[in-house]
Symmetry: C2
Subunit: 348 residues, 2 copies
């Protein structure tokens, strides 16, 4: 069915909805109706239009659609420019959830240390055009509230007060709960106290784990040893481990992520302190490698997908039905994975 003369309205190449309309013998508006699955189109017309669209290889022009409707049907994510398991997994979860909600995804990474990081990223997204924004793994560097945000914002893992207006959040209590479980596990094993190898405290993720550890110790009236700081990397875990190994009172350590835990174990072992016989170590994340390092790592599993999905549910709701309230789902259950890096303290 090749049309004799120009099927396209212009020489432009790609077909427009008018072209589809002409071929189907209907008005342009009807094409729009069909393509948007609007009601009040007879099945027969719908068929014709779809066939015509298919034949021409027609594709909706998103720019025009956005301009006319004021809606972009896309969601922007402010992410961290890192391949760390946590942030990367979260991003993948977000992508899936966004796609399931039939939105497009725009991504802007923040450069750590750049003060205007999140603010600038949000600005960029707003300029590109998004109906909502996700701030994944927020880092607190001060003045985020300064951005003028005219769309709903979802903050993952931090209270929504983190940003100014119309914000929702998900997964806020999760990390703290997991950290408490991790610490509790060590105490249950009989350790007098638990040391903490913390993540950077500008990260909410770092703070939450620290707080969970504190809470767990406080709940049992245990003393709280000095915190050792790391930067999420195995290297920093290793460095911290050299210090901790020298302190014979250390019998249990909760590391804020698995990478640091693995570096820590390495340092302890090199220093002649056996894991778990002399020192027990718990990680955080349950990276796929955790089961295969030696000793295999006891850790807690982060529910990235659940958090991303729940967050997106709230965000999409805030975008599409701003006035109706929605009850947030309950936090997903805590998963502690006990492996070989933890044991009861050896009797001395």
């Amino acid at each position: 069915m090749t049309t004799p003369v120009a099927a396209q309205s212009k020489g432009s190449g790609t077909p427009r909805s008018v072209d589809v309309a002409r071929l189907a013998g209907v008005s342009q508006k009807t094409v729009s109706r069909v393509l948007n699955n609007e009601p009040y189109v007879s099945a027969e017309v719908r068929q014709r239009v779809l066939a015509a669209a298919e034949e021409l290889g027609y594709r909706l022009n998103n720019a025009a659609r956005m301009l006319a409707s004021g809606r972009t049907r896309s969601i922007g994510v402010v992410s961290l420019g890192t391949a760390l398991f946590g942030p990367a997994s979260l991003l993948m979860g977000i992508e899936r959830a966004v796609r399931d909600a039939e939105y497009a995804l725009r991504v802007v990474n923040t450069v750590e240390g750049d003060a205007s990081g999140i603010t600038g990223a949000v600005d960029t997204l707003l300029e590109q055009g998004v109906d909502g924004i996700v701030i994944s793994e927020p880092i607190d560097e001060g003045h985020v509230a300064a951005v003028r945000v005219e769309v709903p914002v979802l903050v993952l893992g931090a209270p929504s007060e983190f940003v100014a207006s119309r914000a929702v959040s998900a997964g806020v209590g999760v990390a703290e709960q997991l950290a408490r479980a991790a610490t509790g596990h060590l105490l249950d094993l009989g350790h007098q106290t638990v040391h903490h190898l913390a993540g950077p405290q500008q990260w909410y993720a770092g703070r939450d784990r620290l707080r969970g550890w504190q809470t767990a110790l406080a709940a049992r009236g245990r003393q709280q040893p000095a915190v050792v700081m790391g930067d999420w990397s195995a290297a920093s875990g290793y460095a911290a481990g050299r210090g901790l190994a020298a302190d014979p009172s250390v019998t249990a350590v909760f590391a804020a992520n698995d990478d640091m835990a693995i570096g820590l174990v390495r340092a302890l072992t090199e220093a002649g302190r056996r894991v778990p016989e002399d020192v027990s170590v718990v990680g955080f994340d349950d990276i796929p490698l955790a089961a295969y390092v030696t000793p295999s790592l006891t850790t807690v599993r982060q529910p990235f997908d659940a958090v991303a999905r729940e967050g997106l549910r709230l965000l999409v709701h805030a975008i599409e039905k701003p006035d109706v309230d929605l009850t947030p789902a309950n936090d997903p259950p805590v998963e502690l994975v006990v492996r070989d890096s933890t044991a009861a303290p050896s009797s001395r």
Copy 2:
């Protein structure tokens, strides 16, 4: 409906370029000129316009701009929905390169196993509006050429014939070279031959490593043992390791990524075969943990950033100056990182 002193043209809330124009006392077109850094605007007018824009908190409307200009200034990435170190690192590299080129980034993940995966993802991106497409970590599932692509495509790590039209590629030879270096290292140590724990062969990444291994063996006239297949996961490496451990002729293994290598080491060790004394193992990627597992892992480092940057240079060029040819840069140098998992074969 217009408020008497209204700064905004409508009650809409967000200011338009007309509003800026009015405030600055110039035409709307002049505002456009200033904001696009076009020439032929007096410094004085430029100042006034910028001040007015700032005062109103004006932000360009991307949709309108796209519609009018036909350019989207965004690039779409087809990525894998995985937090695996390789793909995730590559994605981060792409994001950085895209941002540096002053494009926006749209991301669509493919679901592994979904036959229409890449094709569908490309379609989605085209519909959303992109000036170019990056296919990161391509998987060969057949009919990709079937998509009608009217924009330039960049394929990372696979020849550009992988897709139909106007395609460029980067990092094609890299993986093979690295694999050859990894295998060569083991042969240099004196091993008679090297076994290969391969990645899935639908992945170009998997094939390239296999080929590099083959080439290295062939170059020295060594026999080529049967390949063991894995799926990139430590679990699959572990499973493969149980088999390999049972074969006393195995003295050296090249694993297609570090995760599998670590699983492999674990299985070997459990079976009583010491690494590196009895069996040497080389990985691929140089994940941050590689230096901290025990034994620390000898591996080759993937130049994700270099590949992403070079690829984007080519892509942006193809978008902006389609007719001018560009010479691709040389592949980045091979980096072999020798650690404790490899040694000369023990004399028997």
